[in-house]
């Protein structure tokens, strides 16, 4: 079975600082991966680099998606090929409604006009699944949304755009218990509906409870320092990252940091 995403020896620089120092990570089709690690180790940078944020310069290495080298590809072209990032801090864009934005994004992706009636129907149903007030559809994108509503709006976009790889950057952080459940449910629906792959960047296990995790990656100091199955998440929760780092491969350059 072919890999969906293959990241090889990825080095990423932001301004003058090298954040990622040779990351290798592979995600297969219809898989759920978790990316954990202490704060400031480069998890979000990894998400941005795969998505194609131009402020994050790839200095070495390759990103292969669906067999194509996308290392040099613009962010919108990657989006069209099926990469989606749920932002940790979604931006407010006045002047365009959530509904108009999603419809336009869909049309960009498919290159076809979408019938308004079908679109509205699907949007309404999906918003219901996420317990979103339907009035949000006609509000300006993220403007004045609470933290929780912004995150739900990200998941809504994911469900509507049906990417093949969704990277969720701390989508669960800052959410109350009910909102985490809603988001977690949204992710489950994504798996069932779209059979897409997931890379979930998180500090918490609550969002993972109803999901079957295939691989857990632990990042520290700009490297992947450990990989394992779903049980690795529990191990981290019990012992923390520090003990994990002590026990990890002695070649790990992060040791002693």
């Amino acid at each position: 079975m072919s890999n969906l995403l293959e990241v090889k020896n990825l080095h990423v620089r932001v301004e003058d600082k090298e954040i990622l120092q040779g990351v290798n990570l592979t995600i297969g089709e219809d898989e759920t991966h978790v990316l954990m690690g202490p704060n400031g180790t480069g998890k979000s940078t990894f998400g941005y680099a795969v998505t194609g944020n131009p402020s994050y310069t790839v200095t070495e290495g390759q990103i292969i998606f669906k067999g194509e080298d996308i290392t040099e590809l613009a962010v919108n072209e990657r989006a069209k090929r099926g990469i989606f990032l749920s932002f940790q801090n979604p931006l407010e864009v006045p002047g365009v409604t959530l509904s108009a934005f999603i419809r336009s994004a869909l049309e960009q992706k498919t290159g076809e006009r979408i019938r308004l009636f079908d679109f509205k129907k699907k949007l309404k149903e999906t918003m219901e699944l996420l317990n979103m007030d339907p009035s949000y559809a006609e509000r300006d994108l993220n403007v004045g949304f609470s933290g929780g509503e912004k995150k739900k709006a990200e998941i809504l976009q994911m469900l509507m755009l049906e990417p093949s790889l969704a990277i969720l950057d701390e989508t669960d952080s800052g959410l109350d218990v009910d909102a985490v459940k809603t988001v977690s449910n949204g992710i489950k629906i994504f798996k069932e509906r779209c059979k897409g792959s997931l890379l979930i960047i998180t500090h918490s296990t609550r969002i993972l409870e109803s999901l079957k995790v295939d691989v857990t990656h632990v990042m520290s100091g700009g490297y992947i320092v450990k990989e394992g199955g779903a049980d690795l998440v529990n191990q981290i929760n019990e012992c923390g990252f520090e003990s994990l780092c002590k026990n990890c491969n002695e070649n790990c350059p992060a040791r002693g940091n």
Partner: protein, 468 residues
């Protein structure tokens, strides 16, 4: 419907199609008493108007060129034809308008807008109105909407004489004097006491002739307790010689009346737009200006409001977009000349590719304007490092018990916002256009849907090719 605002593309050539100047009457270039008399004769002026024109020319010759704003050196009055009459009389049906002119207005969507969403339309082509029509039900309410020439000679002649250039006298400034001398075309509107006109009236001004000037006069009187929304649009094809627009708008808002005056200005980039707009508002009355300035090479535009009655209100919502080769000096003025009057200016300026956008405002609060409130908010967006944005607010407060506020913000497009939009599949150009449209939504939210769409399309046009 709102998704239409940025999905549909428009053809930029629509505004740029030039009609051949066939069989029109074009007065010789320049400005002399002889030329002014000829215009007066052409137009069948009453005697007082002929004298008014000559007097204005005298004032024009004696007054100085403005030297405090963008340069108007490229404007040579000796080479401007001040009067160009199209080869038609004014018609009440589009069918009777000559084919080429009708097609021009059809491309601009005027007859369609009239059918769909307007109570009346006036269409001016060069110096004269070629079409004027008002819906029968609106006319039955006693609303008068006609061209200025008919108004001067019709049953409202005395009313016109009583108000014409009383708010903006020829002595106001050099181009007001010029307007007084050579004005032609424009509309007269009278809304009787207590009448609410539920859908807007619109005048559209098209300047087709090369090296010509357009000097239309708009006079609107909204009587006590009445309510009107008036829209004006303007465009011209681009020539490599200077064109001049020195129109004049005078608005009389009577006791407890309300007038909204919306403008989408899209003159071509060889136009000197030296336009004067002024409103006088009586007790409890409201003037609302909604203004989008996109075109012109040089623009001087500061709609002003004189609040003379207790509790009179003014609101000004504007956006100015200065692209390559444009120097647009825009803003608003207000005079609080009565107690408990309020004013609010909310403007956005955008500059791009070396364009200069200046926001200039004046707030004057007179001694008697107790308990008045004035607020000015201006925001600027600069799309690159070659562009320029200035803010020149002036305030003259002569009364203690008033609340006056001013806020200004300046910024550029955030890379994070562009990245966010692009991460959903939008191109960089589209993402930027969307952000700029969003920045200008103070105005687009105030416009009827069709006009908001047109405005967003104009922004998209300006943004095309802005990458790399």
């Amino acid at each position: 419907m709102s998704e239409k605002t940025y999905v549909e593309d428009i053809d930029r050539s629509v505004y740029d199609i030039k009609d051949a100047e066939i069989d029109n009457y074009r007065i010789e270039e320049g400005l002399t008493p002889d030329i002014v008399e000829k215009i007066s004769e052409e137009k069948n002026d009453p005697d007082w108007m002929r004298e008014f024109r000559l007097h204005s020319l005298d004032v024009y010759n004696k007054s100085i060129m403005p030297d405090w704003g963008p340069s108007i050196e490229g404007l040579d009055m000796d080479h401007i034809a001040t009067y160009v009459r199209p080869n038609t009389k004014m018609q009440g049906s589009w069918e009777d308008v000559p084919k080429d002119i009708k097609e021009t207005f059809e491309r601009l969507g005027i007859p369609e807008a009239e059918r769909k969403s307007l109570a009346g339309v006036g269409a001016q082509y060069d110096s004269e109105l070629v079409y004027h029509n008002v819906r029968a039900d609106v006319e039955a309410q006693g609303v008068v909407y006609t061209d200025m020439e008919s108004a001067l000679n019709g049953p409202y002649a005395d009313m016109v004489k009583e108000h014409f250039m009383k708010l903006v006298p020829p002595t106001d400034h050099k181009f007001a004097a010029l307007h007084g001398a050579v004005w032609s075309g424009g509309s007269f509107v009278y809304v009787p006491k207590g009448v609410h006109v539920s859908i807007p009236l619109q005048s559209y001004f098209r300047l087709n002739a090369k090296g010509a000037g357009q000097f239309e006069h708009t006079l609107i009187i909204v009587d006590e307790g009445a309510d009107l929304h008036f829209i004006e649009g303007c465009s011209a094809p681009k020539y490599n010689v200077a064109n001049l627009h020195a129109g004049c708008v005078e608005l009389y808002v009577k006791k407890n009346a309300k007038l909204r005056y919306s403008t989408i200005e899209n003159w071509s980039k060889n136009m000197y737009n030296l336009n004067t707009k002024r409103a006088i508002v009586e007790e409890g009355g409201t003037i609302e200006w909604v203004s989008g300035s996109f075109g012109s090479h040089v623009g001087y535009l500061y709609p002003s409001s004189i609040l003379v009655g207790r509790g009179a209100k003014m609101e000004f919502t504007g956006v100015t977009f200065a692209g390559e080769g444009q120097n647009l000096d825009t803003g608003a003025k207000v005079v609080h000349a009565a107690p408990e009057t309020t004013s609010y200016m909310n403007t956005r300026s955008i500059s791009k590719s070396g364009g200069i956008s200046t926001f200039r405002s004046s707030v004057e609060v007179r001694k008697n304007a107790h308990k008045s409130k004035a607020a000015v908010s201006c925001q600027s967006l600069m799309l690159d490092s070659q562009s320029r944005s200035d803010t020149i607010p002036a305030m003259d407060i002569r009364c203690r018990d008033v609340a006056v506020g001013h806020e200004a913000k300046i910024g550029s497009i955030s890379d994070d916002a562009v990245f966010y939009l692009m991460s959903r599949g939008m191109s960089e150009e589209e993402a930027r256009a969307l952000i700029v449209s969003g920045f200008a939504d103070n105005v687009s939210k105030e416009l009827p849907l069709e006009y908001a769409i047109e405005m967003n399309n104009l922004i998209r046009l300006e943004m095309v090719g802005s990458i790399g």
